[in-house]
Amino acid sequence: MSIKITADGKTIETEEGRQLIDVLNENGFGIPHFCYHPGLGPDGNCRMCQVEIITPRGPLMTISCNAKVTDGMEVVTNSERVKAARAAVEEFLLLNHPLDCPICDKAGECTLQNYYMDHDQKDSRQEFKRFKKSKAIDIGPTLILDQERCVLCDRCVRFLRDWAGDEQLYIAGRAHEAFLTTFPGKEVTSPYSLNTVDLCPVGALTSKDFRFSTPTWFLKRTPSVCTTCSRGCSIRIDVDARDNKVKRLRPRHNPHVNGYWMCDEGRLNYKFVNTDRVGACVVTRNGERIETSTENAMAELRSIFNAGADVGTSEGSKNKAEAAKKIFVLASATCTLEEMFAARVLAASVAEASPYVVRHVPDGVEDHLLRKSDRHPNVKGAELLGIPVVDFTTDVAAGGIDEAVPGGSVLLAVGFDYEIQETLEKFCKQFSKIVMIAARESNLTRMAHVLVPGLTFAEKEGLIVNFEGHIQKLSPALDGLWDKTPPWQVIAEITESITGESRFDGIAGLRKAIGQEAAFSGVDLNVLGPTGIRLKTPNV
């Protein structure tokens, strides 16, 4: 039911039964809080979120995280009493805090630090020795704990218990001696452990992976999507502005896909971006790999696809057509919708055939929270485009492709950025020539006759569709290093060089063309919004 409340005299329209703190914060009141988190609900321990609610008996100080809005509720968030309460909580929390901000990874994005500036700004009145607890404790494969920095908000404990389903942290002891710890002899091993680092309002829980890597104020944050599994959690890619390297992935709130969380595997799956990159076009001559310019590589491609063509004679055109028909297109199921669609257009207009989308990353663990066993982000996208999906993760011969490959065929392989398994390698070996667009070197790129650099998820723009039919957009977080032609455009240029027709007007035009497909009807793929769009009929 729609109701009205007033806060500091301002009228707010909202829904009955919502948490007061959420309503206030959505309306710009910036209510400070440590223990509340919209994904965890109220716990009421930190006392930072207090506001005054006007009652018939006068103003009542209350925690806004544990209060529900009711019609006509009158709230004061800026009285002297409220300000004094916030300053007091901040002072109490800092009394025995170690103040090691200069060496703390959280500095710059620390709630305690920020609130000091907002609500306290007084000199410390602590005249006693600060109470000592333990520091830099190794509590598992992913986490380091500093008990002195902990404000005992219980968020990490509640996340592991209520969401991850692994109660691996708890607050032991009481009073000022209370401390966060693991159970005796146990470690934090949850596959979601690193969410506790995001949740921790201070630098008590830090990520072994990110620790001491980048002061947070050097991070440039780009909204994007995790491509590790078919869930496609919304993320932010944090790039160090100093060296233009990805330093951290963190979940981005998306109520339709991942809520507030992501798994550790996806979060840590960014290092490949910086390793084994295909840095330039390569052509192989007499078994020797030679780096070359994009123009030369494209010329080489044309000569491969137009083999036997003698332009100007009818025999030549016929040969050309025959040669083109021998192009066989495989796209990885990690490719974007744009790459897959461009591959489909190429295969259809040149070879009068369909490409195949390939699952080639072995299945992973699936669980109750987010992780899907399918480690490809865009199988659903392929299905929606009507492209057959073949599975090279098992030992089924030829991934189940029953169509015989005519002798002398040329393979165009797009998006195979990791080492490939034996069945796929064997399948690829039957082609007379292999042409590849790949971001990283692998056993497959080493077989390629022409290799054009591709882009990883951190560098390219593109759409992916998760297993539920939710479309989201990848955004390039890294700039400058790989100013290469995006893979979809390379494919489009190959098509154009053979057919002589230019098809798409930039990526927007390409998306418009995809939008003509029945599966995407009614969706403007050029305006998705930060949390993406759910297809109404995702099963075509």
Partner: protein, 430 residues
């Protein structure tokens, strides 16, 4: 002499035995009870004016009324026998001398509210009370006062003892509930209140031992008889645990409405050794101190003591003589609260520890001239700021000690020592 409701059997050393208790008129309320509609039992208890004796003084009947009627969840009674408030030892007396009276009260409350299971949460150190209580429960089961179809009424009730493990905070009703659930005793934020979501997330009544022990009288004699005792808003009698510098410390029952100091003097024989009275803590260590003057001019009931700036709390009266050091008293209670804070709320966790450290240095002769004001400045930030009132329970008395006995604090700081240090009885509280 005051009317005796709770202590009527204290003089009979065998009253804890079922046969003796029955002979003294015990369990006779049940016959009347089972003929009365549960809703009108709640009405009667409301009308009697009975208030909780655990500390907050909330109307027992009203609390029962908050329990939802149309619920398919089981309902629970938690009997608060944690008796953790320093200075309080009256629930112990009931459990040792008259345990069946408590069980009878438990049956009455459970019947009225529709409760099938009651847990008695007893302070772990209370070995004798636990043994007595368990003996009484066993006898009650054997005689059909507990268990299935109690005395042919069709009403079932099970009663279990749950031993605490020595944490003051487990006396706070939601800390108590968490503890029975097997969790760390940490108070829950309210709302929801236990009456709606309590033990095992089911509707739960939490009442103090003494509160429940009044019920047999109310059923037997009628709510009017109870309401005729005491003052306008403070009905009936209360058990007072009197300790400190008096001739005869002990548990004394008193009807509300008499003069506070006269009651103490008559009951205990006055200040020990005829020394001068310095002050009176009327309601346990959590209550602000009254000066001798205030104690002499205050009526013993909830409202008058509140008007005098303190509270009746658990009825634990502590008497300070001229030989007692108030700074030492602050050191002792602040150390207690700083140790017993569950540690959830920053104002409590950090504030009690801070006050304890400042109090200690004043008592040790190392205080700074600004220390009394520092305490006065910090205390308000512990009041009304936290999940439970443990933080208030230090801040309120601490503030009163400094405000009412400022000279003593200043003297400690100026002389850099405790002027009472040589006195054997320098502290009432330990």
């Amino acid at each position: 002499m005051s009317k005796k409701i709770l202590s009527e059997n204290f003089d009979n050393p065998d009253a804890y035995k079922l046969a003796v208790y029955e002979k003294l008129g015990g369990y006779r309320s049940l016959e009347k009870l089972f003929k009365t509609d549960p809703a009108s039992v709640i009405e009667d208890v409301k009308n009697s004016g009975l208030r909780g004796r655990g500390g907050a003084g909330f109307s027992a009947g009203m609390k029962w009324g908050f329990v939802p009627k149309d619920t398919d969840k089981p309902k629970y009674l938690c009997v608060n026998a944690d008796e953790g408030e320093p200075g309080t030892f009256k629930d112990r007396k009931i459990m040792v001398q008259d345990p069946h009276k408590l069980i009878e009260g438990i049956i009455i409350c459970s019947y009225a509210v529709g409760i099938g299971t009651a847990y008695i949460y007893v302070r772990g150190e209370y070995v004798t009370p636990i043994n007595r209580l368990q003996g009484a429960i066993d006898e009650a089961y054997a005689s059909g006062y507990l268990g299935k179809n109690i005395r042919g009424s069709g009403f079932d009730l099970d009663v279990f003892i749950h031993r605490g493990a020595g944490a003051y905070i487990c006396g706070e009703e939601t800390g108590l509930i968490e503890s029975i659930e097997g969790k760390k005793g940490q108070p829950r934020p309210k709302p929801p209140f236990p009456a709606v979501i309590g033990l095992f997330n089911c509707p739960t009544v939490v009442n103090n031992v003494e509160t429940l022990s009044n019920l047999p009288f109310i059923i037997n004699e009628g709510w009017e008889a109870y309401a005729s005792l005491g003052t306008e808003k403070s009905k009936g009698t209360m058990l007072f645990s009197i300790s400190g510098m008096v001739e005869r410390p002990g548990v004394y029952e008193q009807e509300f409405g008499v003069n506070l100091w006269e009651f103490i003097e008559n009951a205990t024989g006055g200040v020990k050794g005829g020394r001068k009275l310095k002050g009176v803590v009327p309601g346990g260590s959590s209550s602000p101190i009254l000066t001798a003057e205030e104690a002499r001019n205050t009526i013993l009931d909830y409202e008058s003591i509140a008007a005098a700036g303190s509270m009746l709390g658990s009825g634990a009266i502590m008497v300070f003589s001229e030989d007692n050091c108030i700074v030492k008293a602050l050191q002792v209670i602040s150390r207690f609260y700083a140790h017993e804070s569950c540690g959830q709320c920053p104002p409590c966790r950090e504030g009690t520890y801070w006050i304890a450290r400042v109090a200690e240095r004043m008592e040790e002769g190392e205080g700074n001239p600004g220390d009394p004001d520092l305490i006065l400045d910090v205390c308000p930030h512990l009041m009304g700021m936290t999940v439970c009132v443990l933080a208030d329970a230090l801040a309120m008395p601490a503030k009163s000690y400094v405000e009412k006995f400022r000279d003593e604090f200043d003297q400690h700081i100026k002389e850099k020592r405790c002027p009472y240090a040589s006195s054997a009885a320098s502290s009432v509280m330990g």
